[in-house]
Amino acid sequence: MRNFFQRQGKFRPLSRGDVRGKDQGQQIPEDLWVKCPKCGELLYSRELERNGLVCPKCNHHFRLRARERIDLLADADSFEEWDAGVQPMDPLHFVDGQGPYDEKLVKTQAKTGETESLITGSARINGRPLALAVADFNFLGASMGSVWGEKLARAVERAVEQRIPVLTVNASGGARMHEGLYSLMQMAKTTAAFHRLGENRLPHFSLLVDPCYGGVTASYATVADVMLAEPGALIGFAGQRVIEQVTRQKLPEGFQTAEFVLEHGMIDQIVDRGNLRSVITTLTDHYLGMPEGLETYSPNGFRSARDAKHAVPEEEPDSATTGTGGES
């Protein structure tokens, strides 16, 4: 607690979760307390983690790293990663103001501990199998390049083979400029893969999380069978700075938030992080039928996971330890 008083002026949002903080230089590795960027509340970081990185006071959804997301979403130990060995290349020998792209890749991989900005694999949610593709915003702003396209296309093709639905968790700063037209073409490649998924009558659920822009918004992520978003997430095609510069207009209040795109008819639901497992479970059961030996997890549909837990006396033993945001 002594530490707390000495450092309170320096507290930054969670070092791993939220990269929106403007004070990124002040990384305090042993953060015990985290200041909510929305309501300013000082939160005990353990408690915030137990709450799925959602502020218990104002429901601000902190950004999650891809693996944190998978931990929160999938049944414990159910995630099996696919194609982790697919590595980015530098086909253009791209050099920008900061140096060559291939060097940037090596640095980013070392810094993030990830090989690329999209992680794919199979998982179970309340026992229901599905293919998962989760973006990691910390890896070059979750920009979509060749690896993203290849891993996602393979994941969707496997989903077709295994006849399982696909859940994508989409954050992105846009197409990766360092791979030039290869990146743009990943919009075509991923959309083509999801077209096949649809031809095979398998559903795609897309969850848009903060922030989701550019080529990802303009391809597979916005033409899913069910469109979901996290509260407060910024979602758009063009970035706000670009729009301001081009139009020289002041952007309306709440522009491009999840609430804004819901109001404008682009998504089906805004889902609190704590409810996500239950929503995906119910959706999966609607499209693929109830798996044998499993009861419906959430008879009340879109209620919170906490409520659903009360409604169903026994959760799958597997998932009890995984937890979702709202269960702590």
């Binding site: 696919w82 194609d83 982790a84 060995g85 697919v86 590595q87 980015p88 290349m89 086909p91 253009l92 020998h93 791209f94 050099v95 920008d96 103001g97 060749s146 690896v147 396209g149 290849e150 296309a153 197409a175 400029m177 360092h178 791979e179 030039g180 037209l181 290869y182 743009l184 073409m185 990943q186 919009m187 075509a188 490649k189 959309t191 083509a192 999801f194 077209h195 031809e199 550019g214 080529g215 918004t217 303009a218 391809s219 597979y220 916005t222 033409v223 758009g236 095609f237 063009a238 670009v242 729009i243 081009v246 139009t247 207009q249 309306p252 491009q256 795109v261 404008h264 008819g265 682009m266």
Partner: protein, 298 residues
């Protein structure tokens, strides 16, 4: 005009040199944007007869930056689609400088469905700096409109031949380029972002656009080398100086590719239809540059 470039195969271009002299990427960008360069309506006017423009997205409005309709092209009825900017200020405002809004993409999607319904092949002319980045476009779902266009195009059950005739700018260009053939004029460019936008983001300096254009590999020759286009159509004289010749050369190539596609395509044969769609899938499925380490899964 006096930027330095790293590539050996590019050289400083001097105004007025022979057209065969190597041009820098930024020179090509400037040529691609030249207001005298023929645009979609010029191609339709010169190559097609019986053009009936079909307008409107049936939901919100009509977007003059994306035009389309029915036409007779070399003896075939086709659906033609293309971006269209303006040649003067008034027309540019009317056509939003050739940057489609969601209505434009929804019109394009509607016309693709129309072509499919009546079994008409589609030819498209790509020429836009990109999709409109405006408040209204965001409100009406710009991203979704482009995505719906891509989703429609990849599964459209008729042959599609696309040609980049000027500037191929990002998602706005891709929206009508997902065909069975992608042709590109020698002095056209096709890029994930405009060189200016790329420079502003990665150099924090829009004046580095020439460097960005070079390293982004936006020219037809680059994309041909990467196997991303099916044919580079030479411009012995730049299109802005020889518009009519260029247009007819493009027309010949489109016709040749349509003929080739129809050799094996029969709208009444389910196998031929499946083959067309599978080839289109494979065409985009294989694009990417990545390596693989460790155990490769089956």
């Amino acid at each position: 005009m006096t930027d330095t470039h790293q590539d050996q195969d590019t050289a400083q271009a001097i105004e007025g040199t022979e057209p065969t002299a190597p041009l820098t990427a930024m020179d090509r960008v400037r040529l691609a944007r030249d207001p005298q360069r023929p645009a979609t309506l010029d191609y339709i006017g010169e190559l097609c007869t019986n053009f009936i423009e079909l307008r409107g997205d049936r939901t919100f409005g009509d977007d003059a930056a994306m035009i389309g309709g029915l036409a007779t092209f070399r003896g075939r009825s086709v659906v033609v689609l293309g971006h269209q900017g303006g040649t003067n200020t008034r027309e540019n405002i009317e056509r939003n400088f050739g940057m489609p809004r969601p209505e434009g993409f929804r019109k394009a999607r509607r016309l693709m469905q129309h072509a499919q319904k009546f079994g008409l092949p589609i030819i498209t002319f790509v020429d836009t700096s990109g999709a409109d980045p405006g408040i209204g476009s965001e409100e009406r779902g710009q991203g979704t409109a482009i995505a719906e266009c891509l989703m429609q195009m990849i599964g459209t059950r008729v042959p599609i031949v696309c040609t980049v005739i000027g500037e191929g700018g990002s998602g706005g260009a891709l929206s009508i380029s997902l065909g069975d053939r992608l042709l590109m004029l020698e002095n056209a460019v096709y890029a994930v972002a405009s060189p200016e936008a790329c420079a502003a983001i990665l150099w924090k300096d829009a004046s580095k656009a020439a460097e960005a254009a070079e390293t982004m590999r936006v020219t037809a020759a680059d994309l041909d080398r990467f196997g991303m286009i099916d044919e580079l159509i030479p411009e012995p004289v730049p299109a802005n100086e020889a518009p009519r010749d260029t247009i007819h050369t493009v027309g010949d190539r489109i016709e040749a590719h349509l003929d080739a596609l129809y050799e094996s395509f029969d709208p009444d044969d389910p196998e031929a239809m499946a083959a067309l769609l599978n080839q289109r899938y494979d065409k985009y499925r294989k694009i990417g540059a990545w390596s693989e380490t460790g155990e490769v899964e089956p």
